[in-house]
């Protein structure tokens, strides 16, 4: 299902898109890194991850072309198996891996996978953000590490079918342009933490069949349905919106509209929601703060009233007579 099309059909189109400049730059850089049969890339892998191994002299670059994603996945698995016993360096350019996500297969395409002479496998991620004086934007590196961790998990599934199972390295190679040039430089990134987090999340994901079973009969997400029926269909799948969704999900604007319409406090931020105890709507929080509702013995309500009193006192308001009476006792 294409969530971007669905979002547009719901009337809240997503704002995601990639600039063709970034796209071109990324492709040009990747081509440069992989030029000459991946000589530069293999050199970086050898230097950063496996300096003890014999230096690569023209590694093998097997052809991974096949028809259909299943064919390409099988071709990749075969190439990995063949390369593992050779005792040399092998570069797999854009292999295709399959990973089971909530019961349905997802196909993943890492930038490259390198097979070391000792038979271990390494994921290589090529990014076009710069590594300035040896350090790159932490947020972007974090995203790249999470992405690579998924590839590592998928590779481990392939490795499990090989006997003896080769080692999938938990340190990936991040290749970026050096400073302001287009010369590649690389850094080893340990993804053990991201890998275990992702694995746990994948294991805990509700299986798609279970979600489908819980939906009413006849629920359909076809973008050409009338908007009200489509909205009802999307509503039948529970979702909890938080502002972080905006940078990750195509449907975020739709969910935000719904959250705002429901007066949900979470639309202002997760941390804010955590402060307010059991009060989940804007109306109930404000009513509690003004003393119109809520249990005064509830610590969250008591704190809110105190905060409201202090705030109106500081603003010089008269909105909180109760507070004013307490603040200035009669002499």
């Amino acid at each position: 299902m294409n969530k971007a099309t669905l979002a547009s059909a719901l009337g809240s189109p997503s704002a995601f898109g990639q600039s063709q400049f970034a796209f071109m730059r990324g492709n040009a850089f990747e081509a440069r890194v992989k030029a000459d049969g991946g000589a530069e890339l293999l050199r970086l892998v050898h230097e950063r991850l496996d300096p003890e191994a014999p230096p690569p002299k023209g590694g093998a670059v097997p052809d991974l072309g096949a028809s259909g994603p299943e064919g390409r996945t099988a071709r990749t698995a075969l190439a990995l198996r063949e390369a593992t016993g050779t005792g040399g360096w092998t570069l797999l350019d854009h292999p295709l891996l399959a990973l089971d996500v909530a019961g349905s297969p997802a196909f993943l395409e890492p930038d490259a996978v390198v097979v070391h002479p000792d038979g271990s496998w390494t994921v290589v991620e090529i990014k076009s953000f710069p590594m300035l004086d040896g350090s790159a934007d932490a947020a972007k590196v974090g995203a790249a590490a999470r992405q690579s961790a998924v590839y590592v998990l998928a590779l481990e599934q392939v490795a499990a079918h090989v006997d003896p199972a080769p080692r999938v390295r938990h340190t990936v190679l991040l290749v970026c342009p050096k400073d302001f040039s287009n010369l590649p430089t690389a850094s080893a990134v340990d993804v053990r933490k991201q890998r275990s987090v992702t694995r746990r999340q994948l294991e805990r994901l509700t299986r798609i069949e279970e979600i489908a079973d819980s939906l009413p009969e006849g629920t359909c997400f076809a973008p050409d349905l009338p908007p009200d029926r489509l909205t009802a269909a999307v509503e039948s799948v529970p979702a909890t919106y938080a502002p972080e969704c905006l940078s990750a999900c195509e449907l975020a604007f739709h969910c935000r509209d719904r959250a705002r319409a429901q007066d949900a406090v979470t639309s202002l931020g997760r941390s804010l929601r955590a402060e307010l105890g059991g009060l989940t709507t804007v109306g109930s929080v404000l009513a509690a703060a003004r003393g119109e509702s809520g249990d005064p013995d509830d610590p969250a309500v008591a704190a809110l009233r105190r905060a409201a009193a202090l705030r109106s006192e500081a603003l010089g308001g008269v909105a909180a007579p109760r507070a004013a009476a307490e603040a200035v006792p009669c002499p």
């Binding site: 400049f21 990324g26 710069p130 004086d133 929080v285 404000l286 704190a303």
Partner: protein, 529 residues
Amino acid sequence: MSLISTLARLEAVETGRAQPVATVRHRHLTGRPLVCVPLTTAGEAGAPLGALVGTDRDAPRLLVVPQPRDRDLRFAFLAELADVVLPYIDSYAADVEAAERSETDPETGKRVKVEVELCADAPQLIVPSRAGIDFVRLLGRSMRFRRTAEQDPEAPHPAPPRVPLLGRWLTHYGERARVPGSALLLALTDVLSRHWATGQSSLEDQHLGALLAWIDPPEGESGAGAALRAELLRDGRGQLVCPPAGPATDPAFDNKLLAPAIERYDRARTALAAAEDGVEADDRLGELTAAEQHIRELVASRTRPTWDAVWQGLDLLRALPEGGHAADRWTRDRWSFTGHRDRVLAGEPPQPRRDDAVTAANKLATREREQARLEAQEALDDPLVMAGRRLAGEAFAGEVTDVVMAYGEGRRPVPRPLVTVRTDDRPQPAERARVYRSLGGRPQAAEFVGHEDDGALVVLRIVDKMGRGKEPEPGSLPEKGDRVCFTLFEHEQRGGAKLPDPEETPWTHGGPPGDGSPPPDAVTEEDVL
């Protein structure tokens, strides 16, 4: 975020308008700030696409790089930027006042006062958003190690003369922006959200257009609706009506408008280079100029709305009275500016790629100290900020109900009066903990003695600022019925232990930094990246 600002956000949701979270302006604004609205090229590191810069809201200077990947055009842009920014900086460098600073005398080792110059005011740079500050830092980094033809005749691709100097200044501003409370380089979204809470999340507050829509919605419209429009509304060509404040551009703009325009420019340039005679060249030059003009118009159309928004935001901020301590922090900014001016004049090399151990430790210590100073000063300047501290139990306000004269136990009787304050706040100071109140701008300390009446009364012993005599000086004590506010945090920050000079860095910390200027960056062979 304190519960008080959370409440402000919720009130903003209810009323559809941003609510104040400050009653005074906590950042100094100069009379003539330099506003810069930069745009960058997606996917490239430090490849500016253009900028609107200037100090006059009606006459910004538009700088454009028609082909951002071309090194020469990029240098031309940076040289133009230097022509705008450096004269602005220089205009503040000459106007100085005399000041005193204590320095260690190298011969006697004693602290002595020396007369130094302090710039009477400092240039202030305003960018629309936090990403703009990062971009200033990135531009500074990309320029400061470049060599000009004069410095190094052998250097490949020499930079125009004043570009490395601009890089050093932008680096200094970018670094100073990391110091809490500093105002040399301000991101408008940060300053605005310091003073107003909107009915959206702090993530969405990063969008200048949406933020302004909440604070100052158009006549007859709610802030929420206006913010949504600013965020998402697209025109018939699929372009955002309120373009993002940058430096990143909207991908739809890149793909639909900018890419074809740059392609046309490239074609025109290739055609001009291939022209065989003068008449043909003239025609093709005309086409090249037209193509460049088109890109200029595109860049102007994306930056001008942000430019106007920045000035609107500055107007809103100027309407607030300046907080009492903002000028004090601005003086520190002036010292920072003067210090860098002196380093440039002394011919010191550009800031290194990585700080040495002593400089890094000093910077960290400064940031920690300034953070504490900022928090204390904002609370003292602004009852609304103080309310947050009172809610957190870090301060208390109330009425003096009793003042009892008492004396210290030493040989000479010194006044140590006991003051009882009735308060609703629930401070929990430790026994004999120090609390402070502001007395004519100076902190007066007291010791916590105990609670009475089930916590409603706080008994304090005043310990200083009462003069040298047996009787406290008039006005130095609160009187019965006075409203007072004591804080559990200190008002003024002490400097930490002094670190050695960088030249004396012990070997455990990497030893003294190497001397000489750092090498320039490696350059890409191709002229077009």
